[in-house]
């Protein structure tokens, strides 16, 4: 399971990430904003994959590639942390 390491606000075009004292870190556009929303609500990886594939209108393989890249980037930027096994 993933959890956010930063604060965020929902905006019209996606989600904006912030760090207290630093301000805005970056904006997360769609379709990845849907992944962020699922993650903060505790979706498991399979459910996040389905949501991303739906919103991006890609097949499951492409969705899996996009999700892995997205989560990897966020983890590398210390925007999220893994705190348990994914279902």
């Amino acid at each position: 399971m993933w959890r956010p390491s930063v604060e965020w606000v929902v905006e019209r075009r996606g989600v904006t990430l912030l760090r207290p004292g630093e301000g805005v870190i970056c904006s997360v556009p769609y379709p990845y904003a849907a992944v962020w929303d699922g993650m903060v609500r505790g979706f498991d990886t399979r459910r996040m994959l389905r949501m991303l594939s739906w919103v991006a209108r890609v097949d499951e393989d492409e969705g899996r590639r996009m999700l892995a890249a997205c989560l990897g980037n966020w983890q590398e930027a210390r925007l999220i942390a893994e705190d348990g096994p994914s279902a």
Partner: protein, 511 residues
């Protein structure tokens, strides 16, 4: 973790509320009135106004008896006045020229002499959906005793999100063609959050595609509020308007809107209302009014206003059906509903909460009570596109066909424009409404349950309460509060207004 809500949390009040308030400000009363009347003029839409008074023989000026006087209502002029009988006769005799009207009366009728806007209607050209309704499922997680949507027994079928995406793309293309600035999307059920992932995906897709198209999304949901805190947070973050059904006080809620196991739902739903109260959404609590709770409408308003932070209370009378009858519930007495609504309105207004009911809308003229006939598209779980959110059996029994399109599994959107035009025509034909001063505000009520083709010409209970409350509201807008109260205190005055046969004062139509 602290959730941030800064960007969208600028104001508790929603865009719709601001828009409505803006319109209200445009209708501010003028001063210096006679005959205990105040008048107001609608100055907007001047470009569309008729230049010739003779065109007003289309019924556009009405008068109804109000506690010994007459309420003159000119919805297409945006004007009105409270006058005595002698003045009404002068208005009738002089209409439409009023050349010989005495000076004091000229002031009263000044707003009525001005040009009228054309009756509201749709042009006969290509569809421009004002609203997209998404029904992700007909299934529901409650078992309301009066619900004939199938409720807990309804099919569990879920909408394929891909079908919704295709309709969204289609509608955005139409809106771009018409230069429309926003897309309003309303989620309906069953309970839409029973199909939570489908609803989530459609919400995200609407936002994503609107962002690309430069069109502003406006997201609404009708819900029973029976969900957890995480879902409430999602709703608060992503929706603009929430219509939440809650029958006003826990005792009514638990009896009439139980969980499928028969247990009460009030505690969990009130948790949801509290959670949503703390968000930026425009929150509307929808209360079903029956013979049981009509006498407590003021108490209900007081309870809701003191318990929650909401924007609107919507009182709607029970639509009777076999299930509600089996539960011993009936629609309320129309006079009792009118009195209760007025008392609840005053009580809530003192706390900054607006009280509404669907048929009483005096903000601006409309030609349809609901989205039907406005080219709104309603996507059902099976991919059908309809003009009405009711289940097909409810309109088919009146010989109506309100399905005008289909989204295939493959994603193509097929719209039958000829059938859309026939639905436009359907809402125009309301023989019972032609002589009623609520013609351009109530506009006939529900086109399926209240005024389907072939419905009686006599006013029924729904008409009676609508006529009373519309008059009451117009009097309040005119600043004639004492007269408004007097009307609802006097049963014979209420009866006279409710059943006044013909309100038109147009030359040749005067009664």
């Amino acid at each position: 973790m602290v959730r941030g809500r800064g960007v969208q949390a600028l104001s508790k009040a929603g865009e719709l509320k601001r828009r409505l308030q803006g319109r209200m400000q445009q209708r501010r009363p003028a001063t210096g009135s006679l005959f205990q009347a105040q008048q107001f003029l609608r100055r907007e839409r001047a470009d569309n106004m008729h230049e010739n008074d003779s065109q007003l023989c289309e019924p556009s000026v009405y008068a109804v008896p109000v506690a010994g006087r007459w309420l003159v209502h000119a919805p297409l002029h945006g004007g009105g006045a409270l006058v005595n009988r002698a003045s009404l006769e002068l208005i009738k005799r002089g209409y439409p020229s009023w050349i010989n009207a005495p000076e004091p009366l000229r002031e009263v009728i000044a707003p009525l002499r001005g040009p009228a806007i054309p009756p509201p209607s749709l042009p006969d050209d290509a569809p421009c959906p004002s609203l997209l309704v998404i029904v992700p499922t007909r299934a529901c997680n409650m078992k309301c005793v009066y619900c004939d949507f199938g409720g807990h027994e309804a099919g569990r079928a879920l909408l394929d999100p891909e079908r919704a995406f295709c309709v969204i793309d289609h509608v955005l293309t139409l809106l771009a063609h018409h230069g429309a600035p926003s897309l309003r999307v309303h989620f309906f059920g069953g309970e839409p959050f029973v199909a939570g992932d489908v609803t989530d995906a459609v919400v995200h897709y609407v936002r994503a595609q609107c962002g690309r198209a430069g069109i502003r999304p406006w997201l609404e949901v009708s819900t029973n509020g029976l969900f957890d805190a995480a879902r409430a947070a999602f709703v608060g973050d992503y929706f603009d308007t929430v219509v939440l059904s809650f029958d006003g006080e826990p005792a009514f809620q638990d009896r009439n809107r139980p969980s499928p196991d028969g247990g009460g739902s009030s505690e969990r739903v009130m948790d949801t209302i509290r959670a949503l109260s703390a968000t930026r959404v425009e929150l509307c609590i929808r209360v079903c009014v029956t013979n049981e709770n009509a006498a407590r409408m003021e108490d209900i308003a007081r309870f809701l206003c003191s318990s929650f932070d909401m924007d609107i209370i919507d009182f709607e009378v029970l639509a009777e059906n076999t299930l509600s009858s089996a539960a011993g519930l009936r629609a309320p007495d129309p006079f009792e509903f009118a009195r209760g609504f007025a008392a609840a309105s005053r009580c809530a207004a003192a706390r900054g909460v607006r009280v509404v009911t669907g048929a009483v809308d005096t903000l601006e003229p409309r030609h349809s009570f609901c989205p039907m006939g406005t080219d709104a598209l309603m996507l059902m779980p099976d991919g059908n596109l309809t003009a009405c959110y009711l289940t097909p059996d409810q309109w088919e029994c009146h010989g109506m066909d309100l399905t005008f399109g289909k989204v295939s599994h493959g994603g193509s959107v097929a719209l039958d424009f000829e059938k859309m035009k026939s639905v436009r025509d359907l809402v125009r034909r309301k023989p019972r409404c032609e002589r009623c001063f609520c013609r351009w505000s109530c506009a006939g009520g529900c086109h399926v349950h209240h005024s389907p083709p072939g419905s009686p010409l006599d006013y029924d209970d729904f008409c009676a309460q609508t006529r009373l409350l519309t008059a009451w509201r117009l009097l309040e807008e005119l600043g004639c509060r004492e007269t408004a109260d007097e009307l609802l205190r006097d049963e014979s005055a209420m009866r006279r207004l409710a059943h006044h046969v013909d309100d038109r004062i147009c030359e040749g139509d005067a009664r």
